[in-house]
């Protein structure tokens, strides 16, 4: 699903994502939809980084879902990679109208348990947002590029200004 009314969603998602990052002490947070469209982010300053991570996360999520189906695991609750210095947590966020994907990068300042704990809270908050209670307007193929660029500008400009 490619969401057309992106600015409204971006605004609605800013507070819960900011709360999550602060409370979980994560470094980077990125919320995308299944098509890789960026809905919220924290920690990135360059748009190409956001685009790359969003594309890879959407692909990783799709691969994991396919693998789950192949192995009769139904679905994964989350994907966790522990690196030497940084760790990746990737999980689906279910809302009444769409499944989103959350990408979290964290380091020794926090732990997997804490990220999971606040992720549960974040999922509930996002699912309860009025913006996710009714079917989202979808963008057309012609407008996809334009909306993608607009979405990136929305989520990057604010972070860039704050930095």
């Amino acid at each position: 699903m490619i969401i057309a009314d992106l600015p409204r969603l971006v605004e609605a998602l800013k507070p819960p994502i900011a709360d999550f990052v602060r409370e979980s002490r994560s470094r980077i947070a990125l919320l995308i939809n299944g098509s890789g469209q960026v809905l919220a982010q924290h920690g990135f300053t360059r748009s190409y980084e956001v685009m790359n991570v969003a594309s890879l996360a959407a692909a990783a999520h799709a691969s994991a879902a396919a693998l789950a189906e192949l192995t009769d695991a139904s679905r994964w609750t989350h994907l966790h990679h522990a690196g030497k210095e940084r760790q990746l947590f990737l999980a689906p966020v279910k809302t009444p109208v769409a499944e989103l994907i959350l990408v979290i990068i964290f380091d020794e300042e926090t732990s997997l348990g804490i990220v999971q704990l606040y992720f549960e809270q974040l999922t509930g908050t996002i699912a309860a947002l009025p913006e996710f209670q009714e079917a989202l307007a979808e963008t057309t193929e012609q407008h996809f590029e334009r909306d993608l660029e607009a979405g990136l500008r929305n989520v990057i400009t604010d972070e860039g200004n704050r930095a």
């Binding site: 926090t110 732990s111 348990g113 804490i114 999971q116 704990l117």
Partner: protein
Amino acid sequence: MTDIFTEAVERLSRVTGVRGALVVETDAGVPIIAELADGIDGDVVAALAASLFRRTNKAAQTAAFGNLRTLQLEADVGHVIVADGGDVLIVVIAEKTAQLGLVRLEAHRAAEALQ
């Protein structure tokens, strides 16, 4: 290895007044094994206890006190005791009336056995 964890948790759970015992992975803050009374969320306790222990340990090291061995929290109606077992933590949830000395002793025994 799982048997050692199970034994540690079962031994702690037998102490009068103990409402829950967990072996928690220190860095990840996730439970390895837990025996808990109804209404206690093991995942949440593990995540928060491990986070608290890691931060307090950092404070102890910064103050040149060395490594933290035990963390004991006192709340209105009970205690939470966290003992360092190397890569794992022993977390015990005890009622206010529990024999704390015995709880601490058993937590330390479990921690030493797992190191």
